[in-house]
Symmetry: C2
Subunit: 330 residues, 2 copies
């Protein structure tokens, strides 16, 4: 920096000002300094900057698990947005509640953290609240007040999915095969499923709303039980994610039941799998990349303006009709 200052015949203070508040410096001087910067290939030292300003252009993102395309899509959107705004993204594959987690160990050198919480986690939640950095929460409804959040609006897609099912299946024949009971998304989807069905005249009981995990295996197993109980009458299944839906397809195949003829299946997430299957899986699209981008955008907004009121972004879900659901009645 000193070299630049010398080359441009100014003080280091002016060089700094050219970089940080150009409006304070005379245009000709600024131009001269810029040239010197170019010529010497000067790049400010990030550490010194951080030391002075106590800010960094680093954002953390903590996911329950970077696994599968679901999260990679989220990461993709988040990274794109961060980059667009001149930030870098630090990842943590485990939203751990101990020191080894991002929150604990990155404390102090990230400007903020986006945390994805898919299940209640008191310890982690406490740790986040006590951290000094700004943060936003992804996909979690807890700790609602005064916290920036980015959510998936499961209601829209779920409602549409149920109505789509009801186009060709009786309400009593509709099932929801969810993921883990504690999972926020599954929980919401289950509730909206039940509510929508109730509005349409049939309150489903616990045999119609099932919880397990997000695996093909669970879908296969649960699908088998449901089909066994259905006695061949056409049924509709809304799954908690695409893998479960695929499991249900497998269960139907086991019994030689045609999909969508005898069993209409709708997945959730619209992962790659949904497009690959034959017949193509009707599913509810969840815009993960947008969720990631929105989270980063919200985080940066908070960093730039700490006093702003807490935001809550809801990204819409959307039913994507493919081959595993009967077409709506004409």
């Amino acid at each position: 920096m000193e070299d630049v200052a010398k080359a441009a015949a100014v003080s280091t203070a002016t060089v700094s000002r050219v970089l940080n508040s150009p409006e304070l410096v005379a245009p000709e001087t600024a131009a001269r300094v810029q040239r010197a910067i170019q010529d010497l290939g000067y790049r400010p030292n990030v550490f010194a900057q951080g030391l002075m300003t106590r800010k960094s252009r680093l954002l953390g993102i903590a996911l329950p698990d970077i696994h599968g395309e679901f999260y990679s899509e989220l990461l993709r959107g988040a990274d794109a947005e961060a980059r667009r705004q001149g930030y870098h993204l630090l990842i943590s594959s485990e939203a751990r509640d101990d020191e080894s987690g991002l929150i604990g160990s990155a404390a102090g050198f990230v400007a903020g953290v986006a945390v994805m919480l898919t299940e209640p986690n008191e310890a982690l939640w406490k740790q986040i609240r006590e951290a000094s950095e700004p943060f936003v929460v992804i996909d979690s409804d807890i700790g609602a007040a005064g916290v920036d959040r980015v959510l998936v609006d499961n209601a829209i897609g779920t409602r549409d999915a149920v109505d789509h099912l009801l186009g060709s299946v009786k309400p009593e024949r509709c099932y929801f095969v969810g993921g883990p009971r504690e999972n926020f998304d599954t929980e919401q989807r289950a509730r909206v499923f039940a509510d929508t069905l109730s509005e349409r005249g049939h309150r489903p009981d616990e045999r119609h709303v099932r919880f397990g995990d997000y695996s093909v295996d669970w879908g296969h197993r649960c699908g088998g039980e449901i089909l066994a109980a259905a006695n061949g009458e056409p049924i509709g299944v809304l799954a908690g994610n695409d893998e479960i839906a695929f499991g249900v397809m497998l269960a139907a195949a086991d019994r030689g039941l045609n999909v969508p003829g005898k069993v209409r299946i709708i997945g959730f997430d619209d992962t790659r799998l949904a497009t690959l299957l034959r017949p193509g899986l009707t599913t509810v699209r969840v815009p993960m990349a947008q969720v990631g981008a929105a989270a980063i955008a919200a985080l940066i907004a908070r960093i730039d303006e700490p006093g702003r009121p807490a935001s809550c972004t809801r990204l819409p879900t959307e039913l994507v009709v493919r081959g595993t659901s009967a077409p709506a009645k004409p």
Copy 2:
């Protein structure tokens, strides 16, 4: 830090030493300082540290594209290893060759960068070489000399796959349906495919070794052409990745050809898709998580010991036999 020093009745220098070179400090003093650190919840300022030591505990990882589980698996392994060694991981979804890429923009505050290069990219390569940080290259054979590299040993898996195919298909009936011609992996796999077949008595021509892209669609299309030319005789296909393999399965299904009866198919990568398909896809497993971990390990080794000779880690691939290939002859 000053507070800690005061609380432990030592100087800040001693506090620093306790943290960085405990062997220089008397055990009792160290204990006293540690207590003070605990009590006051002191955490060293990363920026100040970086300013002094010109080092950071940040590692960059640049991928061609963080997309799909292939890369997310890599990232997972890399992050785990980085965390284990007390580093943080900065991601870049695009290994761009301009300023906006990780290499350009993170220059100066990462201790090193792992770059994944799946195709030749002169500009990026040049940029990397000129960067001041240490770096390791993933999956790329270029710029061989003096550079740390982590590679996938495609040979083992490809050879095994070909031999597996030859267990029930004539050499003239074996095909390779690859991804992009320039892609390092596809290129290697194609070569080993051809070599192995040659050793077994049949040099394949360009009709038997095809290039396209890594998509289901290409597999479908190319598989269709191959099957059309095969006149119903049993054939074997080694695909450049699992998606292509799936495309070929689709092509077989179009023609009502049984898999593995009439068409034996082997994929590459062992992605989730391979386990989900029915029949299960025989495929060559590529240990992506290990690749990521090895890359980070190599990077840290280089950082710790800049003078060490360049390393080259080769992770083995392994044939995983499932349902789409005929069982080997008894």
